[in-house]
């Protein structure tokens, strides 16, 4: 099946959900999410059946890369993330219903819920287009499709002040960063005369190029990209937006949006890294960015008491490790390098998807029984629900990078890459960050297993729906499997 059918199927799924919501009388609107979940499962299976066309003639292939296994891997990340976000949204729907506007008299009591299952599907199609974009125009329009869907989803809980504040912050800062990105694109187009990434690479490799202008374009583009991936000093929006947004959307932002941001970053930085005149300066800038992000993300996470905010800083910290891998890009004329930054970043994001979504899935399941998202409300969880506590333990261990989990190999590959490219400064800061990570992730595990539950809480067991239970189990198994045999994920990158 031709690769571009995948996005068409996902958009069609979104339309089906919208139409069924509008025209079919449903008892329970949560069944709309099932359409999305089943459809996305089919799309995920189809990813393994993709055929690349023999000829790439025609206007379409100027905007869509062909024969690209990395793009397929990132499409897989997008589909899987959206699928799990829909699973979370089913569990989270009572809270969504409480905080959106009231239904009209006589309307369905779940009015307004259907759109919240359709929007992630459209965002997913955008994320998949981003993975294949090879032209400044298609990068920009797919990125904006995703971003606009996120503006809406973040502010979805209209009667919740936190969600609205998060939405406004994300909208204003997002628009500003888009402005920088487009200004950078304009300069890049001005100096290279092309919007095609392959042609831009050729133009930038030209020794007669004026490096000052190219670096200026690079800096502007990097500001926009750093905002999307949450790298310091453009990370300021992350804690507030992650805390205010509905939890499933926070998970979507922190995995889907970040992964797509990184594939775009890889694509856009490749021409700059391939230019001999620019290589060293670009690597220096990336190194500074990585050091700052590692320090701020990991150190600011230490005192956090709110679990969602902690995960926000954790996502900044992980962005730090990913930028670190990017800064270890090999020089073209350099020695033999066995690991490529592309593979390392793809693997890291695959592992990050599993462990972050596991943590958020536990959080959404608990949200209906435990009112707050403070760290202290998870005290003594192991006594109340050993299964959820175990799931969260695995997720925290993997985020920290404990051996035998997927997260360990993610960090291991990044450090191996730093050693190979002899980036010793980065290695030191990376190790400091990883050590700090052990403290704040495992503190949660300790309070779940070793503290007593809060006095006023009831000890009734927490009910988990079968779908959530299966998803949790699948994620736990995958994390442990990839922790023993990283080839499970590496094999998919191709």
């Amino acid at each position: 099946m031709p690769v571009y059918y995948l996005e068409i199927i996902v958009v069609a799924l979104g339309l089906v959900v919208l139409m069924v919501d509008a025209f079919v009388k449903l008892e329970d609107k949560r069944s709309l999410a099932w359409i999305g979940i089943l459809g996305l499962a089919v799309v995920f299976a189809l990813l393994f059946k993709v055929e690349w066309p023999a000829s790439t003639e025609g206007a379409f292939w100027r905007f869509y890369s062909s024969g690209d296994s990395l793009a397929l891997f990132f499409k897989g990340i997008a589909v899987l993330t959206t699928l799990i976000v829909l699973v979370m949204a089913i569990d989270y729907s009572p809270i969504i219903l409480k905080q959106i506007a009231n239904p009209e008299p006589g309307a369905h009591p779940q009015a307004g819920l259907g759109e919240c299952f359709a929007l992630p599907l459209f965002a997913c199609a955008g994320l998949m287009w981003m993975a294949s974009a090879n032209n400044l125009v298609s990068i920009f329009v797919s990125l904006e499709t995703v971003t606009i869907a996120f503006y809406i989803m973040v502010a979805y809980l209209r009667r919740n002040v936190g969600s609205l504040e998060a939405g406004v912050k994300y909208l204003i800062l997002g628009a500003l960063s888009t402005g920088f990105l487009v200004y950078g694109f304009a300069w890049l187009f001005g100096i290279t005369g092309s919007m095609q990434l392959s042609e831009i690479a050729t133009a930038l490799a030209n020794p007669e190029l004026n490096p000052t202008v190219a670096l200026f374009a690079f800096a502007l583009i990097l500001v926009g990209l750093a905002f999307k991936i949450g790298a310091t000093p453009f990370h300021l929006w992350i804690p507030d937006v992650y805390q205010g947004a509905p939890t499933p959307i926070t998970a979507f932002l922190s995995v889907g949006s970040k992964a797509a941001g990184f594939i775009i970053t890889l694509r856009l930085l490749a021409p700059f890294l391939g230019s001999p005149a620019l290589f060293e300066k670009v690597v220096l800038i990336l190194t500074v960015l990585a050091v700052l992000t590692l320090l701020v993300g990991n150190l600011a996470a230490l005192p956090q008491k709110n679990f969602k905010r902690l995960l926000a800083y954790s996502s900044i910290a992980h962005a730090g490790f990913l930028v670190m891998a990017l800064a270890c890009s090999p020089h073209e004329t350099g020695g033999e390098i066995t690991l490529s930054p592309d593979t390392v970043i793809a693997f890291y994001l695959g592992a990050y998807l599993l462990m972050t979504l596991l943590a958020f899935l536990v959080m959404t399941t608990l949200r209906t029984t435990i009112p707050g998202e403070e760290r202290d409300s998870y005290r003594g969880l192991a006594k109340r629900s050993p299964f959820l506590a175990f799931a969260l333990l695995i997720s925290m261990a993997s985020l920290a990078g404990v051996p035998l989990t997927a997260g360990f190999f993610g960090k291991f590959f990044v450090f191996a890459l730093a050693v190979e490219s002899q980036q010793w400064t980065l290695l030191v800061f990376g190790l400091i960050g990883a050590a700090a990570g052990f403290y704040y992730y495992l503190k949660i595990a300790v309070s779940m297993y070793l503290s007593d539950p809060p006095q006023d809480s009831d000890a009734a067991p927490i009910s988990i729906t079968p779908l959530t239970r299966i998803t949790l189990l699948a994620l736990i198994v995958l994390i442990l499997l990839a922790g023993v045999h990283p080839g499970v994920i590496l094999g998919l990158i191709g």
Binding site: A59, G112, L119, A123, V141, T145, Y151, I152, N210
Partner: protein, 169 residues
């Protein structure tokens, strides 16, 4: 032509500064229209007639009128009463000046590019309008991004309905 270029650039710039400096939101909006007019004139000087006219019709016309309506429905005095802290003012103007200095430095480092761009109207020979050519490009070479924009607009429409309705049905 150079004189006109400087004239309209100055118009666009002063309009832009006016948006930021004015205390009254209505004056800010009017300054923005002024800035858009300057920009439109610059586009027309570059032979991009359609873009120039769209700038006036869509931005200065439709969008800014919408802005003005919204501003008039809101409480304007609130914004005027708000004190502006001197620290913010110095910080913000510092960033702006630094950015302008950066652009000037980049521009002064000699030749900024090798790319030669031909105007749309020249590339296909005389007698064809740029409206015709942009339309043709959008629906031939650029059909794929246009399709993505269609999804974007759908998402935005759904979002407006979900976020702004008083009672959902």
């Amino acid at each position: 032509m150079t004189f006109l270029f400087y004239l309209f650039s100055a118009l666009a710039l002063f309009g832009g500064i006016g948006v930021v400096v004015n205390r009254n939101p209505v004056s800010s909006a009017i300054s923005m229209i002024l800035s858009f007019l300057g920009l439109a004139a610059l586009f027309i000087q570059l032979d991009a007639f359609l873009v120039g006219i769209l700038q006036i019709l869509v931005y200065a016309g439709a969008i800014m009128v919408l802005f003005l309506f919204i501003i008039m429905l809101l409480d304007v005095r609130e914004e005027q009463r708000r004190r502006r802290s001197i620290v913010h003012f110095i910080g913000a103007s510092g960033v702006a000046i630094a950015f302008v200095a950066l652009v000037i430095t980049v521009l002064s480092r000699g030749d900024i590019g090798k790319a030669n761009f031909t105007a749309l109207t020249e590339s296909k020979g005389p007698g064809t309008s740029d409206v015709h050519q942009i339309g043709e490009l959008l629906f031939s070479t650029y059909w794929f991004p246009v399709q993505i924009v269609a999804v974007l607009l759908l998402v935005a429409t759904v979002g407006v309905v979900v976020l702004s309705k008083k009672e959902l049905k």
